[in-house]
Amino acid sequence: MSRKIVVPFGPQHPVLPEPIHLDLMLEDERVVEAIPSIGYIHRGLELLVAKREYPEYVYIAERTCGICSFIHGMTYCQGIEQIMDVDVPPRALYLRTIWSEYSRLHSHLLWLGLFADAMGFENLFMNAWRLREQVLDVLEETTGGRVIQGSCKIGGVRRDIPQENLAGMAADLSPFEHELGELGTVFLKDDSVNSRLVGVGHLSRDDAYTLGAMGPVARGSGVAIDIRKTGYAAYRDLRFEPATETAGDCYARCAVRVKELFSSVDLIRQAIDRMPEGEIEVKVKGNPEGEYFSRAEQPRGELVHYVKGDGSKHLVRSRIRTPTLTNIPPLVKMLQGCELADVPIIVLSIDPCIGCMER
């Protein structure tokens, strides 16, 4: 009978950009059980609602995450707007959609680069991040910020994108899409990538659903949930279907993200084509009184901003539930029975964003 030992994984590890700890119970080289532990970078951002007035809190909400910051700000604004019955101008909703999809492209390309790096495929890493720079350039040109945009506000957006710039962005999408195609082909067809990912870290469809997996983790196991289908921002006007795979392994999760690159490009193209004319913000008066669970589809899955106001300038409660938190239980399941050498790849396959999760 083999001996069981406990191997600590993290909080500092070459594949982890941020700290998470796992106690891995091993039987020979096989993981029998994994116990996660977080809390190394908890900042208590939610408590700042008591210190910042509700329009100011947008800046705090944006700083929850250093990757999908725009979507955090937008989801918070959306929650306040739903409580206060604010009629956001259609052009602002379309601009929010465009910036959300650029954020998704930026996040997925960042992840693909990190994933390639974790596999030791340095050229693929460099190529993914080279393409990501093009996305960051667009975000910087249109909002003024590469990562923290600050372009969303309660009642609309702060900056418009002039029509000629929109035309230029649309024209740039075709060559960009071609380069994405070349990058995606390597991720999905290369033998060395396939041999590292196929069959590794399996999560069944039932487990994905009952354990609360969201985003590409759920869709990689065939659970076609995508919060964009609820029709927030301009998504109710745009055509798209959630990208899904059924294998439930690391390859499937990677394939979903590669497919979503193209779906984001298509959504940006549609939003530019249908961009309405008009105002980009409305003035918001008064204070929020009521509550709302504002939901949006982040690159990693469903994001929830629960906001509750009592009619004063300060909210009573802000609660941010990020997709990484809900993807931790599925990760524990994926790790059971895997080889120790596969643990870094499996952990990375959920695209963990720890700063975001700990808030």
Binding site: I35, S37, I38, G39, Y40, H42, G44, E46, L47, A50, K51, R52, E53, E56, Q78, E81, Q82, D85, V86, D87, V88, Y209, T210, L211, G212, I225, K229, T230, G231, Y232, E291, Y292, F293, R295, E302, V304, Y306, K308, H314, V316, R317, R319, R321, L325, T326, I328, P329, P330, E358
Partner: protein, 127 residues
Amino acid sequence: MKKIEDQVTTVISIASLIGRVEAFRKGAYRLVQMNCSKIGEQFEINYSFEKDYRFENIRIIITPDTEVPSITGMYWGAFVYENEMHDLYGVQVKGINIDFQGNFIRTSIPYPFRDPSYKGEGPCQGK
């Protein structure tokens, strides 16, 4: 304005919590999130579920010393929320499948969200 989705919140008693959660589980709802809020001297705990993009929320209102039953028997992944509620608010949850005993979220002071001591110190205060 257009409502994005209808959200139903039902306040229930703590005694009926397990039965209601069991009904959601049998109805193939997924657990969206759990959260705790301090309202006055009481805690509101929300349990949110969804099926086919239909969002439903149940809420219990408890005093700070009330012990809450764990729902991890029905939703295994709920341990992340229950440990978080314990570590930030000091809510006592009975029967969690993976109980971190206060070490899930490490904070410099115990239960920092239980009795926050500041309010209204923002730079725009009074403007």
